[in-house]
Symmetry: C2
DNA sequence: AATATAAGTTAGTTGAGACTATATTTTGAT
DNA sequence: ATCAAAATATAGTCTCAACTAACTTATATT
């Protein structure tokens, strides 16, 4: 009997982005307000309210009108997974001198498409490359040529 | 005067997937029929007709009713770019023993989120790693542990 | 040439996820 | 306690991209 596979995407891409923001806000400020979620994701407040209601229906957050949002267990699990993938990507691309800010949009997209084997490969490679500064230098040189 | 930056995504993600399929079909069979596009993308024929009409309006393909589709210059350029990204990803992940089939869905997603610097990094790293079998072996060992 | 089947199109519907404008609730300052 | 401002919610609209069912055109077989 094999373990159940974990699909790449749990909830929609948009929902994963909301969960990521909500977790980050809760960890940074203790709570997640609609206005901050909207600001961080660059969308209108009303859109956030609507999405939060859908996510409540899906069991990803617990929502009470005018009272704010918290993550359910299911929601928090997904949120932590996404944050982990995001961070793994930042760490990986930082090796080559790509800074977090300039590739933010790419990482926001890629993080939703990393099944276990790909995540493991990136993380393992990151670990090994951290001990190969010479190799990294050569890669950086090549990248510079493609600018 | 700097060159115009090329955005990561030209057309929508769905459109990029259509363009990729259309180019592949044209190169493999000489033409791209609605029925084959639909089959390869796993969607209904009627949906393909609808999308092709939108893409014609956007100048990505040239469409005549009942006569099939061809790519415009703009469409072909995007299509080749996507295929290139897809192939780069396959080549990269193959290094670690991940087979194309099992990570197909991930690559289908990631290919839409690779701006120049990320593409260059992946390609440069692939080139260097091809000369580092010992390093690859270590990475593979680590990945095996995460299964 | 007639006709069956395959391919393609149209029409109408759905759902996600965004938007604006408006209404309501909460909160903070007086 | 009152009232203004900030936060949140509702209502209604929009676009994209899918779907099914029904219709039309192309093609292949006899
Ligand atoms: Mn992220
Ligand atoms: Mn994201
Ligand atoms: Mn692809
Ligand atoms: Mn794709």
């Amino acid at each position: 009997m094999s373990k159940a596979i974990t699909p790449t995407l749990r909830g929609t891409r948009a929902q994963e982005d909301y969960l990521e923001q909500i977790l980050t806000l809760i960890e940074n400020k203790g709570y997640a307000r609609v206005v901050d979620i909207a600001h961080n994701l660059g969308i209108a407040q009303a859109s956030v309210t609507g999405m939060i209601q859908r996510m409540d229906a899906d069991g990803l957050v617990a929502y009470e009108k005018y009272r704010g949002v918290i993550l359910t267990e299911a929601g928090e699990e997904i949120a932590r997974e996404i944050v982990r993938r995001h961070e793994s990507l930042v760490e990986f691309f930082a090796l080559f001198g790509l800074d977090e800010h300039s590739i933010y949009d790419d990482i926001e997209g890629i993080e939703h498409h990393m099944s276990q084997p790909i995540l493991a490969a990136i993380q393992a490679l990151t670990g090994e490359l951290e001990r190969q500064p010479a190799l990294l230098e050569r890669v950086k040189k090549k990248i510079a040529g493609c600018a």
